[in-house]
Amino acid sequence: MAQLSPAPAKELSASNKMTVMLRVNGVERKLTVAPWTTLLDALRLYLDLTGTKKGCDHGQCGACTVLLDGRRINSCLTLAVMKDGAQVTTVEGLAQGSMLHPLQQAFIDHDAFQCGYCTPGQICSGVGLLAERRAHTADEIRELMSGNICRCGAYPNIVAAIEEVMAGKPARKTGEEGI
C-alpha cells in the first residue's frame, strides 16, 4: 500500500505571524496576526471592535469603512500588516465620552437608518466626506457617498443628516485623530 504523505500542516506556526502596532481610536494597540489578516478582521477579531461591519468583504458595500490617518477606506481590502504605525478611527472612536459626534447625533435626529448594519460605515464615510470638503450640494453628497450601500434605503435621511452637519455644525475634532 502506498504510504500516505502527511497532510500539510494547516495550523499557522507562531513564527509566520507578524507584530503590528496600530493607533486605534487614539490608543496604541499591538497585535500579532497572520500576514493575510485584513484590517477589518484585525479590528473585529483581534481588537473586539465589532462596530465596523463585514458586509460584502469585497469593497463594494462600504460597511467596513474606517478612517485611516484621517482618510476613509474599505478596511476589508487592506492587510493589517501593511498599516503598521497608522492611525485608525472606527465608529467606536467618534464619540467623546457620552457626547456623540455631530454626525452620529444627526443620524439619530434624521432617522438615517433602519436595521443599522451599514450605519457605522455610513457614519465613518460621512465623517471622511466632511473632512474632504469636496461635497457642497445634496447631489455631491449622494455622489461622494456612493461607496456606502444601504439595503433599507435610508438614503434620503442619510443625505439630510450629512447636509445638516455640513451646513451648521462642522465636524468636531476627536482627540488626536484629526477628524
Partner: protein, 122 residues
C-alpha cells in the same frame, strides 16, 4: 484569505530583487484589486511584496512640460491634484467616474493601470 507570505520592499531595487527571486509573488500597493482577487481564489500569490513605503507618491513637473505621476499616487489625490484638474480635466473626470471615494483613497495609479480584469464571467 489564502496562506500567502508578506514582505516589505525597502527601496525600488529591493522590490525588483524580491520579485525576481520569487516570481510567484506579487507586488501589493492599494490592495483593492489584488486582495479581492485573492479572496475570489483567482490570484494565489505565494507572497505579497508591500511597495507602499517606496517614494513613488508624487506628481512632478517635467522639463518637457508634462507631468510625471508616481506609481503610488492614490486615485483620489491624482484626481484632485491642482495640476491634473487644470491641465488634464479628462483624466480627473475619468478617475472620479470610477469606484468609490474609499476605493479611490486606497487605489494606486500604477495598480490602476495594471489592474487585472475583474469580471467574474471572464
Amino acid at each position: 484569505l489564502n496562506n500567502s507570505g508578506y514582505s516589505r520592499a525597502a527601496d525600488v531595487s529591493d522590490a525588483v530583487r524580491q520579485i525576481v527571486a520569487e516570481p510567484t509573488a506579487k507586488f501589493i500597493a492599494g490592495g483593492t484589486n489584488l486582495i479581492d482577487l485573492i479572496k475570489e481564489d483567482v490570484a494565489r500569490p505565494s507572497r505579497v511584496i508591500d511597495i507602499t513605503h517606496l517614494p513613488l507618491n508624487k506628481v512632478e513637473e517635467r522639463e518637457d512640460g508634462g507631468l510625471r505621476i508616481g506609481a503610488l499616487v492614490p486615485n483620489s489625490d491624482l484626481a484632485y491634484h491642482p495640476q491634473i484638474e487644470a491641465r488634464y480635466p479628462l483624466l480627473a473626470s475619468a478617475i472620479l467616474a470610477g469606484a468609490s471615494p474609499q476605493l479611490r483613497n486606497m487605489a494606486s495609479t500604477g495598480g490602476n493601470l495594471l489592474q487585472r480584469t475583474r469580471c467574474l464571467y471572464f
